[in-house]
């Protein structure tokens, strides 16, 4: 004799459902066990508002299939893939309903389906799919700022660094080629023993290399501090430029805010990466030349700054507002736009 549970949806209609299927939903299960409701029509369990009869039908189909014990994972997966094929509207309703019934596996399934719908679409397409109102102003969406690397001088500087780094990497590659090799070694022990007293172990050499790298990094730290200070500040400026977006018209803002040195943001520069991999064997002449070029540029860029600072301070009447973790909707938050579209 099959037993049934009575469920009532928000619109007042009452249905009778097989017990095993209904009990698969944690919320219904809990109601039955805690309050004893659902055993007759008069005492039907009231389902949350988000569950309408049509959606309830779908949910029960899902429950009926999955509550059967003996099914293989493959069978379940195939069922899920077919089950999830429905229009977006129904999918959203189903997600909402499954959530209110605390049916986590179904919520996961529908969320994944919704994620697949959203992924890769442009904002316009997403808005159309889900009927979202396009109610942000153009300002709020914000034009993307000119990318900081568009400035020709900074680009040149980056190129120099890239060249220098590449140079160092070639040198290092030649030296460390043993380290990169797959260390798998299938020689028999007898063979190895015959080599042991001969060539010195590879491992010793590579370890020495790494130590050299570490030491060099520390030595160069002090030297590079002054030279690199300005470059790094520039790189970090995009963060701050965001704050000033709304106050200037975009053209001038992007130009000037890039160059502004921001006192409020405190970055302790650590330069391990820029010259950290300096190899002892780098050709000294080459090294000098590159160093000189880099210093030159740094100086030139520095000299421009005092003038730019002046222009900036004239136009600025808003101080930097620190971000607060739990605030919502204040103007400083609309910075999220500026990098999305870049």
């Amino acid at each position: 004799m099959k037993s049934y549970i009575w469920l009532q949806t928000a619109d007042g209609s009452i249905q009778q459902v097989e017990e095993e299927a209904a009990m698969f939903c944690p919320m219904i299960c809990q109601e039955v066990l805690q309050t004893g409701m659902g055993s007759s029509k008069a005492y039907a369990i009231s389902l949350p508002q988000r569950v309408n009869p049509a959606i309830l039908g779908l949910i029960l189909d899902y429950c009926r299939f999955h509550q059967v014990q003996g099914r293989s994972n493959k069978e379940r997966k195939t069922f899920d893939e077919k089950f999830i094929r429905m229009d977006t509207k129904k999918l959203c309703e189903l997600t909402s309903a499954a959530d209110s019934l605390q049916l986590k596996p179904l919520v996961d399934l529908t969320s994944r389906a919704l994620a697949r719908i959203i992924e890769g679409k442009t904002p316009e397409e997403i808005r159309e799919t889900f009927h979202l109102p396009d109610d942000l102003t153009e300002e709020e969406k914000l034009e993307p700022l000119r990318n900081i690397t568009d400035d020709p001088r900074i680009r040149l500087l980056n190129r120099l660094y890239a060249r220098k780094r590449k140079e160092l990497k070639e040198r290092k590659k030649l030296k460390d080629v043993e380290v990169e090799e797959e260390p798998k070694d299938e020689r028999s022990v007898e063979d190895l023993l015959s080599f042991i007293n001969g060539a010195d172990g590879d491992t010793k050499e590579t370890r020495a290399n790494k130590n050299k790298k570490k030491n060099r990094r520390r030595k160069d730290h002090a030297k590079d501090l002054s030279q690199n200070a300005n470059e790094n500040d520039k790189e970090l400026n995009p963060l701050t430029s965001a704050y000033h977006n709304g106050n200037f018209d975009n053209a001038s803002a992007s130009q000037h805010s890039m160059m502004q040195n921001l006192p409020a943001v405190n970055f302790s520069p650590k330069f391990e990466f820029i010259d950290g991999d300096m190899d002892d064997d780098l050709d000294p002449a080459m090294k000098e030349e590159l160093d000189r070029e880099v210093e030159d540029f740094a100086r030139r860029l520095n000299s421009d700054w005092p003038e730019r600072m002046q222009i900036l301070s004239l136009g600025q009447d808003r101080r930097l507002v620190p971000i607060s973790m739990n605030s919502s909707g204040s103007t400083h938050m609309y910075t999220s736009m500026f990098f999305i579209l870049s």
Binding site: S111, S188, E272
Partner: protein
């Protein structure tokens, strides 16, 4: 400002569902949702999982530019994010070591980080800042190619369940200390260390994965280990160490793991276990051990064969056995010590649960054939014996087949499947 196309389908779903949807799409798409509508502006900013993989950077041939762009992106996302961050993962092959890493990890240490995965671009090493050791709620830590230097006063990660260190520069003492200071550690994966002698004290450890040039591995305190996978590489130093070692590695390694269910050993693992094996009386029984996989076993070395025999006779519930021979034995010894097998056949042990056996890289050498005969003669419920020869040499293979056809089988259902190239 848009025309009404119908009611908004999705924006009123509970925030937890929206967040779970946003965490299932690439982070760039998730952040882009902030321009969809006014309701969507900050929905993304409280997601608790931030994953920056190769999808998050625009495609470009210039690795430097892409690397910088990714670093900037990460900094911006962190700055705009609100609330706790439970999972933070960087596995981007273009990102290079940069000063911002220190700030990111500092920020994460203040935001309840639970899972941290850091793997930068190929060949890039970076230094882990000390703020990592303030991440009290850390449950999972995976680091690749970095320098790790725990402070002396570090008391350990009290919640850490899973630790993975790959090509990490850290002193051996610090590694051992780190492992032993994480009381809840269940899963440990350490790879590509040089010449490490590792002692593991992890009372809750269940899964162990080691790969690299290890001199010694001593499982001093890991009684709940369920799964072990070890790949031991060889160097001249290590070979010398093996020669001079007077330990009994079998006991040191497997003496304290009675709950073992699966054992996988690669490259020089059997060689490592074979040191000191002569003097061993089987230390314990492995009643839960159901799967054994040993690769690159040198069948010319009777000590290594002894390791296998010890293992299988100590595992009454062994179901699956996979052995792969060493394929670079060009010629077998002229007088193989077949007396060895006479001695072994004196014992009566049968492999009562053994069902599947797979032997690969078989050269058809005498010891290998004796081993096959040993298995066939003692496995009453054997169902399949797969043999994959390493070299399709008619002579050797023919010899192998002839011997197999001759030998006695304990199981009436045993199928011997011989694979041709």
């Amino acid at each position: 400002m848009g025309d009404v196309m119908g009611p908004d389908l999705i924006s009123d779903l509970p925030q937890s569902i929206i967040e779970s949807i946003l965490m299932k799409i690439p982070i760039r798409d998730a952040v882009r949702t902030s321009i969809l509508s006014s309701k969507w502006r900050y929905k993304w900013s409280s997601i608790t999982q931030l994953v920056f993989d190769d999808k998050c950077a625009p495609f470009s041939c210039d690795r430097e530019v892409v690397g910088r762009s990714v670093a900037k992106f990460i900094t911006r996302v962190l700055f705009l994010h609100q609330g706790p961050i439970h999972k933070f993962q960087i596995t981007n092959s273009k990102l290079q070591s940069c000063p911002e890493i220190d700030q990111w990890i500092l920020y994460l240490s203040r935001n309840d980080i639970k899972e941290l995965v850091m793997e930068l671009g190929d060949g890039e090493f970076f230094r882990i800042p000390s703020s990592l050791f303030n991440c009290r709620k850390l449950r999972r830590l995976e680091l690749s190619r970095c320098e790790l230097d725990p402070p002396l006063c570090f008391k350990g990660f009290m919640c850490l369940r899973s630790l993975g260190l790959h090509q990490v520069l850290i002193s051996p003492d610090a590694v051992e200390s780190l492992i032993s200071k994480c009381p809840l550690l269940e899963s440990l994966s350490v790879s590509y260390f040089d010449n490490l002698a590792l002692t593991i004290r992890a009372p809750n450890l269940k899964h162990l994965y080691l790969e690299g040039e290890f001199k010694d591995i001593y499982l001093e305190d890991a009684p709940f280990l369920v799964e072990i996978s070890i790949a031991m590489y060889m160097t001249d130093d290590i070979a010398e160490h093996f020669e001079q070692s007077s330990n009994c590695n079998f006991v040191k390694f497997l003496g304290g793991v009675p709950n073992l269910e699966k054992l996988v050993g690669l490259i020089y693992f059997t060689k490592y276990l074979s040191i000191g094996i002569d003097s061993v009386h089987l230390p314990i029984m492995y009643n839960n051990l159901e799967t054994i996989e040993l690769y690159q076993v040198n069948f010319e070395d009777t000590k290594e064969i002894l390791v296998i025999l010890h293992l299988i006779t100590s595992s009454p519930n062994l179901k699956e056995l996979q052995i792969s021979g060493s394929s670079n034995i060009a010629v077998a010894a002229d007088f193989p010590d077949l007396d060895f097998w006479e001695k072994e056949c004196l014992s009566d042990t049968t492999l009562n649960k053994l069902k599947t056996v797979k032997l690969s890289e078989m050269g058809g050498w005498p010891h290998e054939i004796e081993f096959m005969k040993y298995l066939l003669g003692r496995s009453p419920v054997l169902e399949t014996l797969n043999i994959i020869p390493c070299v399709f040499d008619m002579e050797n293979n023919l010899r192998m087949l002839m011997e197999l056809v001759k030998c006695r089988r304990a199981s009436t259902q045993a199928e011997v499947v011989f694979y041709r190239e």
